[in-house]
């Protein structure tokens, strides 16, 4: 499991801070990382833009920020924070324009973390 944690650290994930919240339970941490991605947060966020539902857009970006920070997923949290700021400032058009970059970065990150966490899924 140490090797897995090192691989996650190499992806700029704040593994140690996240583990502190989980009493050092590395198995639970990997399970929650899988839960986060299995919830398909990006899919939900994109759907909220498609259906033009500002309260869902905000809620889902806010959820993504909170969960990713709790899990130390800084690259995801940075994206969610940027999106959330645009929505807070009512910059709807800019938020829509940001979505493709958001999706690309999210998927790039998931492609890197997926082989690590899926292998260890209980």
């Amino acid at each position: 499991m140490n090797d897995i944690m090192d691989q996650l650290r190499d992806l700029d994930i704040e593994v140690d801070e996240a583990l502190e919240r989980l009493s050092g339970d590395e198995k639970l941490y990997v399970k929650l990382l899988n839960t986060f991605f299995d919830e398909e947060p990006l899919k939900g966020l994109k759907a909220s833009f498609t259906s033009k539902n500002p309260s869902d857009e905000y809620r889902l970006a806010h959820n993504m920020k909170g969960s990713s920070l709790n899990l130390g997923l800084l690259p995801i949290a940075d994206l969610a924070i940027e999106m959330l700021q645009l929505l807070r400032d009512h910059k709807e058009e800019e938020a829509i324009s940001f979505l493709p970059e958001f999706e690309r970065s999210f998927n790039d990150f998931y492609a890197k973390i997926k082989p690590i966490i899926k292998e260890e899924e209980p």
Binding site: S23, L32, G66, S67, L71
Partner: protein
């Protein structure tokens, strides 16, 4: 005997994290939106020691949930923590 709390949180990930944080000392009911939380609350209010509420939930949000709960004087004694 463990006390019981209600977790009202629409993110599965965050709900699991909260559950883990509290599980040593508390049993928990979980709800993913305000309506579900209010239903569970009404059914089990007599055993609840506290409610953890996420504000941003689909349907009935955390503010509306808190308003519904605190509208009844009997329920105002139960601590509500906004997560």
């Amino acid at each position: 005997m463990k006390r019981t709390i209600l977790l009202a949180e629409d993110s599965v990930t965050d709900s699991e994290i909260l559950k883990h944080i509290f599980e040593e000392n508390y049993d928990s009911y979980e709800a993913s939106n305000g309506q579900e939380a209010l239903r569970i609350f009404k059914e089990f209010s007599s055993v609840l020691s506290a409610i953890i509420v996420d504000i941003h939930m689909p349907g009935m949000n955390g503010f509306s949930l808190i308003k519904s709960i605190t509208a009844d004087p009997h329920w105002r004694q139960i601590p509500i923590i906004v997560a």
